[in-house]
């Protein structure tokens, strides 16, 4: 078992290193954006005097490396700074949005992951049947349409008929049941968008294994197809499935800004887009860092879990 802990530690250290490189990339990329925060905040209202006054106030007259060091040392102390645009502490600004994003991602994942696993196993079980074909066509079409189109279709069917609200307008302090009801359409949209990928991977991984000799052996012993797939094929197919699930979870956290906009859901994506438009650099940096950390952690978890799922890797001789 200690091998596993060593691996986790090693991966964590590599993750920290990756995050460090990411901070450099984020900071460098933001330096390349045309225009500066003072100009973006004042917009067309900018005159040379107000610009100069605001630049000094925001510390933009310092050289880039000094601003990077200030930022990095703040982050290491758990202080993300304050938003340039509205002077609110960034940790407070992001906390609420991050919670919303995680809530929606979790909601969608709780529906999508079991659904795609079950559909994938069933499709493999009844390979070539009408069920297999129908489910393939359905999931592939929902992933092929742009997210906003899927969202509009759902609004047309489920919101205009009055079943679900068309916008996720959640009053502060709403109970969980109401939150689940009001965010059902965005969660369903995301489910439709990510299911195909996971379902197809489950199906492909299992079908791949069904051709191997040990499955044939199991069949020859007289096992039913369900038992063959669930007990014998699935455990060996777990590694690729776990990886694709992790990828999709990361997507649910980082890539849902379009769904947020269509359903007016106050998540981290919209905050980041607003902040880029306003050149609110500290907020962009903090959000980008969180996204990067989410990717790294999910990939780490996927690696560890797929290693654990493989006894040959766990019990090395």
């Amino acid at each position: 078992m200690s091998d596993i802990w060593w691996m986790i530690l090693r991966r964590l250290a590599l993750g920290v290193l990756t995050l460090f490189v990411v901070t450099l990339l984020i900071f460098g990329a933001i330096q390349l954006l045309p225009g500066d925060p003072a100009q973006a905040i004042l917009g067309q209202a900018a005159t040379p005097e107000t610009l100069a006054a605001l630049r000094t106030e925001l510390g933009l007259d310092l050289p880039a490396w000094q601003r990077y060091l200030n930022w990095i040392s703040g982050v290491l102390h758990g202080d993300f700074g304050v938003s340039l645009a509205n002077k609110r502490p960034i940790s407070e600004l992001i906390a609420g949005r991050l919670a919303n994003t995680l809530f929606l991602a979790l909601y969608a994942a709780v529906i999508a992951v079991p659904l795609s696993l079950v559909l994938g196993v069933l499709a493999a079980l009844w390979r070539g049947s009408w069920f297999d074909r129908a489910i393939n066509v359905l999931t592939l079409s929902s992933i092929s349409f742009p997210e906003f189109f899927v969202a509009y279709i759902l609004i047309f069917w489920l919101a205009q008929s009055g079943l679900f609200p068309s916008i996720s307008n959640i009053p502060p302090g709403a109970p969980l049941a109401e939150k689940l009801y009001r965010t059902f359409l965005p969660a369903l949209t995301l489910t439709l968008v990510v299911t195909a990928h996971m379902m197809r991977m489950t199906r492909a991984a299992i079908i791949n294994l069904l051709a191997s000799p040990y499955i044939e052996m199991a069949r020859l012993k007289g096992m039913g197809p369900t038992r063959v797939i669930v007990h014998h094929a699935l455990p060996n197919a777990l590694a690729p499935i776990i990886n694709v699930v992790a990828l999709n979870l990361a997507y649910l956290i980082t890539g849902v800004v379009v769904v947020e906009v269509v359903f007016v859901y106050p998540g981290l994506g919209q905050l980041m887009v607003d902040s880029v438009a306003k050149r609110d650099i500290p907020v962009v940096q903090a959000a980008a860092l969180i996204f990067a950390a989410a990717y790294i952690l999910l990939n780490l978890a996927a690696d560890v879990l797929s290693t654990l799922s493989n006894p040959r890797l766990v019990n090395k001789r």
């Binding site: 917009g43 900018a46 600004l93 609004i155 916008i167 269509v262 905050l271």
Partner: protein, 524 residues
């Protein structure tokens, strides 16, 4: 991008509101709204849910910023101002009950209304007014309203109920100027306001505010305008940036009022049951601005050729779907009291060719920069323009610029660009903001000696007839010599649930009844 800084420009003209019924799509017809709801009696009660296309997580309470319509309407709902622009475009008192000018219009004395209090219960005094205006003045001010208050030399209290403002030179329109939404009266402590405090003396008290998402407010029980205003018990403002999501929210009854209805799909929204469309035409206008310092635009004949080479009617019909009015290459709208009814310039390729020849040219090739950040449909408008101009031998190369950074990298940088102006409540304000030589937003870099001289003289002239004559000449100068093509004035198009009632006359200086729908409208 919702970061369109054009929204941050202060002021707007409102002298005429143009309400359209369900079918009327005329360009300048003044028609009353088709339904009888408009005239119904106001009634108290209910929670208004109003969704706007603007609002960003970078917004704040700070009155020096207020750079999109959400922040501006929210500020107007919670704050009191010295003066207010009424729905018909005239000026009425708000915190200032009355005002008078010295004969040279340099010294203005404002009498404050007695008994007005902030939400905290503190009475509004001259000290608060002075601190609120001072916040935008001074060297280190970053306020978007800095240019408005810059001419103020001194503000002094004359007792707790009187404020005397001295300007560096006469300005007959000063009471209009301080109605600007950047200049709310906030409570002062030790001569300074707290710009990040939600306190104010307006009709609604802030309950909660999450920038870029929502703001909740309840009626201020001590509002001095009660019971004529603030009919809703509570107000919830929402940001819904996506146009389709906004329309869906209205159709499904999630909200009661939306702004910025997409003019391309407005006919579909009209068919939805329980929805009424309201549109107002004020001074919001779209322009194509030329850098008059740079060749070939430095030659007025080239400018005139470009002005004759655009078919304004086609742009109005196709880009705005008829929701607007024709422009005449000068920014003063028909609702302004100094509007000079100059002959409408029309599309005339032959005249354009004539002016090209005068300039010594057979053909002309110019680049035109546009992006949807300039105004919705700007790229389409530019492409239409280039096709119309081709008939006059003018090649316009449309350059599609990125929305992001449009106002810092394209506007006032490239020689020929699409621009959006929300306009100003007075002709002087508009001219001094964008047409006087050397001012920060003179986006055509136009410098006309006669114009500048007239502008200065007219500002302090108190004789209305003489003033009107001067403004007429200025409008003529901008139209025939200025560097700006103004194809159209654009309407504000809003969607309302049938349950909403509003006064017959709706303010057109801004969207949503001059940002005052929250306190002027009601549930019928």
């Amino acid at each position: 991008m919702n970061g369109n800084p054009a929204d941050g420009r202060f002021g707007a003209v409102s002298r005429r509101s143009l309400l359209r019924g369900a079918t009327a799509l005329g360009t300048a017809a003044l028609l009353p709204l088709g339904s009888g709801r408009a005239a119904a009696q106001p009634k108290q009660g209910g929670t208004l849910r109003l969704a706007m296309a603007h609002g960003s997580s970078t917004d704040s309470y700070d009155p020096a910023m207020l750079e999109n319509a959400f922040a501006q309407l929210f500020a107007t709902a919670r704050n009191g101002y010295m003066t207010e622009i009424a729905a018909d475009g005239s000026l009425t008192g708000d915190i200032a009950e009355s005002w008078e000018a010295s004969p040279d219009a340099r010294v203005w004395t404002f009498k404050l209304r007695a008994g007005v209090t902030f939400h905290s219960g503190k009475p509004v005094t001259a000290e608060d007014v002075i601190a609120s205006l001072d916040y935008h003045r001074g060297e280190e001010s970053t306020s978007a309203a800095k240019p408005i208050v810059a001419p103020i030399v001194e503000i002094a209290a004359d007792g707790p109920g009187t404020v005397v403002v001295t300007l560096e030179s006469g300005n007959a329109d000063f009471p209009f100027v301080i109605s600007d939404y950047h200049l709310p009266i906030l409570p002062a402590t030790d001569g300074r306001i707290d710009p990040l405090s939600p306190d104010g003396c307006g009709g609604y008290v802030v309950e909660s505010y999450e920038p870029g998402v929502r703001a909740s407010m309840t009626r201020n029980p001590n509002y001095w305008k009660l019971p004529d205003r603030a009919h809703f018990d509570a107000v919830e403002l929402l940001t819904i940036i996506d146009a389709a999501a906004r329309q869906n929210a209205l159709i499904t009854g999630e909200v009661d009022v939306i702004d910025q209805v997409d003019v391309n799909t407005v006919h579909l929204l009209q068919r939805a049951p329980g929805v009424q469309i309201l549109s107002t035409t004020g001074t919001q206008h779209f322009t194509f601005a030329m850098d008059t310092r740079a060749a070939p635009f430095s030659d007025n004949n080239v400018r005139l050729a470009l002005k004759y080479a655009i078919d304004r009617q086609e742009l109005l019909d196709k880009v705005l779907n008829g929701y607007g009015a024709l422009g005449n290459d000068q920014p003063v709208g028909p609702s302004d009291r100094f509007f000079a009814d100059l002959p409408q310039r029309v599309y005339d390729p032959d005249k354009a060719k004539f002016h090209l020849k005068e300039a010594g040219l057979d053909t002309l090739q110019v680049p035109l920069s546009a992006a949807d950040a300039a105004f919705p449909g700007a790229v389409d408008a530019a492409v239409l323009y280039s096709e119309q101009a081709a008939a006059a031998g003018i090649t316009i190369d449309v350059i599609r610029e990125p929305n992001d950074g449009y106002w810092s990298n394209v506007w006032m940088v490239k020689p020929f660009v699409a621009v959006y102006w929300s306009g100003r409540p007075t002709a002087d304000w508009m001219f001094s903001t964008a047409y006087a030589a050397g001012v920060a937003w003179n986006d055509t870099f136009w410098d006309n000696e006669r114009f500048n001289q007239l502008l200065n003289e007219a500002r302090s002239e108190l004789d209305e007839t003489k003033r009107a004559e001067m403004y007429r000449e200025m409008q003529l100068l901008v139209r025939d010599d200025g560097g700006v093509v103004i194809p159209m004035f654009a309407s504000y198009v809003m969607g309302l649930s049938d349950a909403i009632g509003h006064p017959e006359q709706v303010g057109a200086n801004w969207t949503l009844d001059g940002f005052r729908a929250v306190e002027r409208w009601w549930f019928a």
